[in-house]
C-alpha cells in the first residue's frame, strides 16, 4: 500500500482524468453489450448517468401516477352501489397504493428515496399521468377507468416487463398481473350498466364518451414529437413507440366496445383492410399539452389533496420516527454480550 500511495502522489491530475475516461469507456462497452444481449442491468452494475436519470424520471412518474390515480376512484368508494362493487373498488385502490410502494422501492435502488420523490411531486417538479386530471363524475367512470385507462396502461406496461433495468422489470410483472384484473372489473362493471336500465346504459355511454380521447392521449405525443423516445428505445427501457402502442390499444378496444354494446366517440374510426389496423380520427393535442401544463379540470385539486394528506400526516410520521429512536437503543439486547454483563451471566 505504501508503494501504491507514493506512486499515486507522483501522478498528475491529467493522468487521472484520462484513466477515469478510459474506465468509463470500458464500463460503457460492458453496459452496451449487456443491453444488446437483452441482459438485465441490476442496481450494483455500472450504468451511464443519463440512463439512471431517465429511469428515475420514468419510475417516479409511474409511482406518482399510481398514488394520484387513487383519488379519482377513491371518489366513489363511499358511494359504490352494491357491497360487491364496493369490495372490488376498495381492493383496486389498495392495489394502486401497493404499486406505488413497489415503484418507489424500485426508484430507491437507483439511489433516490421516496421522500425526495414525493417532495418533487408536491412541488410540481415531477409529473404524474395527465389522465388523472380528469374528474370521475358518475359511477360509470369507475368502469371506464378500469376498461380504458387501465387497458391503455397495460398496453404501455406489458413491454416494460422486459425493460432492461431489472428491478423495474420485475415490479412491472406484478403490477401488470393486478392491472389486468382491474381492467376486467372495469369491463364487467360497464357491461352490467350497458345491459341494465336505460339510465344505466346512458351513464355508461357518457363515461366512454368522456374517457376515450384522454385514454388515447395516455400513450404520449406522436413519435415525431416525443422528446425522450429514441434514447429510451436504444436503452431498451422502452420497447415500442408511442404510436405503435396507441394503435395496438385501439385495435383491442374496438371489438370490446362492440361486445359492450357501447360506441366509441370517433366518426372516423374504421377498419383499414390494407393496413390491418383501425384508422382513427385526429387527437386534439392542444388539449393534451394544455392539461399537461396544469390547466386540466382537476390538476389543482389532485395535487392539493396529495399535499394536504402529506402535511396533515406529518405529525404521524414524526411520532413513528420519534418512537423508533426511543426504542432502538443499542443498549437493549446487546448488554449481555459485553464483557462485564456477559461474565456475570456466565
Amino acid at each position: 500500500m505504501a508503494t501504491a500511495s507514493a506512486h499515486h502522489t507522483a501522478r498528475t491530475q491529467a493522468d487521472e482524468a484520462a484513466d477515469e475516461a478510459a474506465r468509463t469507456a470500458a464500463y460503457e462497452v460492458v453496459f452496451d453489450a449487456a443491453v444488446a444481449a437483452d441482459e438485465r442491468i441490476e442496481p450494483r452494475d455500472w450504468m451511464p448517468d443519463a440512463y439512471r436519470s431517465t429511469l428515475v424520471r420514468q419510475i417516479a412518474q409511474h409511482a406518482h401516477s399510481e398514488i394520484i390515480g387513487m383519488q379519482p376512484e377513491a371518489n366513489w368508494i363511499t358511494r359504490a352501489p352494491s357491497l360487491r362493487r364496493k369490495a372490488i373498488l376498495m381492493a383496486k385502490v389498495q392495489d394502486e397504493a401497493g404499486h406505488g410502494l413497489y415503484l418507489y422501492s424500485a426508484a430507491e435502488t437507483l439511489g433516490v428515496g421516496r421522500d425526495e420523490l414525493l417532495d418533487k411531486l408536491h412541488s410540481g417538479r415531477q409529473k404524474y399521468s395527465s389522465i388523472f386530471n380528469y374528474p370521475t363524475l358518475t359511477w360509470a367512470d369507475v368502469g371506464a377507468i378500469g376498461w380504458l385507462v387501465d387497458g391503455a396502461a397495460i398496453t404501455n406496461q406489458v413491454p416494460l416487463c422486459r425493460c432492461s433495468y431489472g428491478p423495474y422489470a420485475r415490479a412491472m410483472i406484478r403490477v401488470c398481473k393486478e392491472e389486468s384484473f382491474h381492467q376486467r372489473q372495469g369491463y364487467e362493471l360497464l357491461l352490467a350498466l350497458s345491459q341494465g336500465t336505460p339510465e344505466q346504459h346512458a351513464m355508461a355511454q357518457d363515461a366512454v364518451d368522456r374517457w376515450w380521447w384522454p385514454s388515447l392521449m395516455m400513450f404520449g405525443p406522436p413519435d415525431d414529437e416525443s422528446s425522450h423516445s429514441a434514447q429510451s428505445m436504444a436503452w431498451k427501457i422502452k420497447r415500442h413507440s408511442n404510436d405503435e402502442l396507441r394503435q395496438r390499444f385501439v385495435d383491442i378496444a374496438v371489438p370490446q366496445a362492440e361486445s359492450l354494446g357501447l360506441t366509441l366517440p370517433d366518426p372516423d374510426l374504421v377498419w383499414n383492410e390494407e393496413r390491418g389496423h383501425h384508422d382513427f380520427g385526429a387527437i386534439d393535442w392542444t388539449e393534451f399539452w394544455d392539461v399537461l401544463k396544469g390547466n386540466g379540470p382537476c390538476n389543482d385539486q389532485r395535487i392539493t389533496q396529495r399535499r394536504r394528506a402529506h402535511e396533515e400526516g406529518a405529525w404521524v410520521r414524526e411520532a413513528a420516527a420519534a418512537y423508533a429512536d426511543k426504542h432502538t437503543s443499542p443498549a437493549v439486547g446487546t448488554t449481555s454480550t459485553t464483557g462485564e454483563t456477559g461474565a456475570t451471566r456466565a
Binding site: 363511499t78 385502490v93 418512537y323
Partner: protein, 239 residues
C-alpha cells in the same frame, strides 16, 4: 321485518363491520403514509367481508345495507364516529378490534351459528388489533404533539365503549367477563403507550346500548346519505 334472535344478532354484528369498513374507506387517498393506505384498506376489506357474511345471514346484503333507514341500523355508536384525525381513527380501532377479538375468539370456540365466521374473522381481527396497538404505542410514546392528540382521542371515544358489553340476544357470551378482559387489555396498551387511561363514564342516557336500539349520532345520517344515494336513485337496478 320480524327478526329471529340470531338474525338480530347477525344484523348487529354485521352493521358494526359494515359501518366501520365504510369509515375506514373514507381514508383512501388521505392516509398519512403510503403503508397506511394499504393497511387501512386491508382492515376495511376484512370488515366488509365479515359484514357481507353476517348481513347475508339476516337477509339480502344490499337491501339491508342500502335500503334501511338510519333508525333500523343496529351498529354500535362507536363505529359510526367520524374518522377525525389519525389518532381518533386509531383509538376507535383499538377499542373496537379489542372487543371483536375477544368476542370472535369466544364465538369461534363454540359450535353456534357464528362459529365458522368467527373462526375466520378472529385471525383478521387479531391483525387489526395489533395494528391499532402498534400505532397507539407510537402515537402515545412518540412526540409531545402525538401524545396530546392521542390522549384527546382515547378520552373522546371512551364514552362509547360501554355499549359494546350490553348483552346481545342470540350471542352466548359472559359479557361481564368480556368487559373485564377488554378493560385489562386496553388499559395495558394505553399505559405502555404512556397515555392516560380515561376514567369518565362509559354508560349513560345516550351511551347505554343506544346504537343497538337504533339510536345513532348526527353524523351517521350523512354517512348513510352518501352510502345509499346512488343505489336508491336507481330502484330495482342491478350493478
Amino acid at each position: 321485518m320480524t327478526l329471529t334472535v340470531n338474525t338480530a344478532a347477525a344484523l348487529a354484528l354485521g352493521d358494526d363491520a359494515l359501518v366501520l369498513s365504510h369509515r375506514l374507506g373514507e381514508w383512501a387517498g388521505h392516509a398519512p403514509v403510503l403503508e397506511e393506505e394499504v393497511a387501512l384498506a386491508n382492515i376495511a376489506l376484512d370488515l366488509l367481508g365479515q359484514a357481507r357474511v353476517l348481513l347475508s345471514m339476516a337477509g339480502d346484503e344490499d337491501e339491508l345495507a342500502y335500503l334501511r333507514e338510519e333508525r333500523a341500523f343496529r351498529n354500535l355508536q362507536l363505529v359510526e364516529q367520524p374518522n377525525g384525525d389519525f389518532a381518533h381513527t386509531i383509538a376507535r380501532q383499538l377499542y373496537f378490534s379489542t372487543y371483536q377479538r375477544l368476542l370472535y375468539a369466544h364465538l369461534a370456540s363454540g359450535d353456534g351459528e357464528f362459529a365458522p365466521l368467527a373462526a375466520k374473522a378472529v385471525k383478521e381481527v387479531a391483525y387489526h388489533q395489533d395494528h391499532a396497538e402498534q400505532w397507539t404505542l407510537r402515537l402515545g410514546d412518540g412526540t409531545d404533539e402525538s401524545r396530546a392528540r392521542m390522549n384527546v382521542a382515547v378520552q373522546a371515544l371512551w364514552r362509547f365503549t360501554g355499549e359494546m358489553f350490553q348483552p346481545l340476544d342470540g350471542v352466548d357470551v359472559d359479557w361481564d367477563a368480556m368487559q373485564t378482559a377488554w378493560l385489562e387489555s386496553v388499559g395495558d396498551v394505553l399505559r405502555r403507550a404512556t397515555l392516560t387511561v380515561p376514567e369518565g363514564p362509559r354508560t349513560g342516557a345516550w351511551t347505554a346500548g343506544a346504537g343497538r336500539q337504533g339510536l345513532h349520532t348526527e353524523s351517521f345520517g350523512r354517512m348513510l346519505a352518501e352510502m345509499q344515494h346512488l343505489h336508491r336513485s336507481h330502484p330495482g337496478a342491478s350493478w
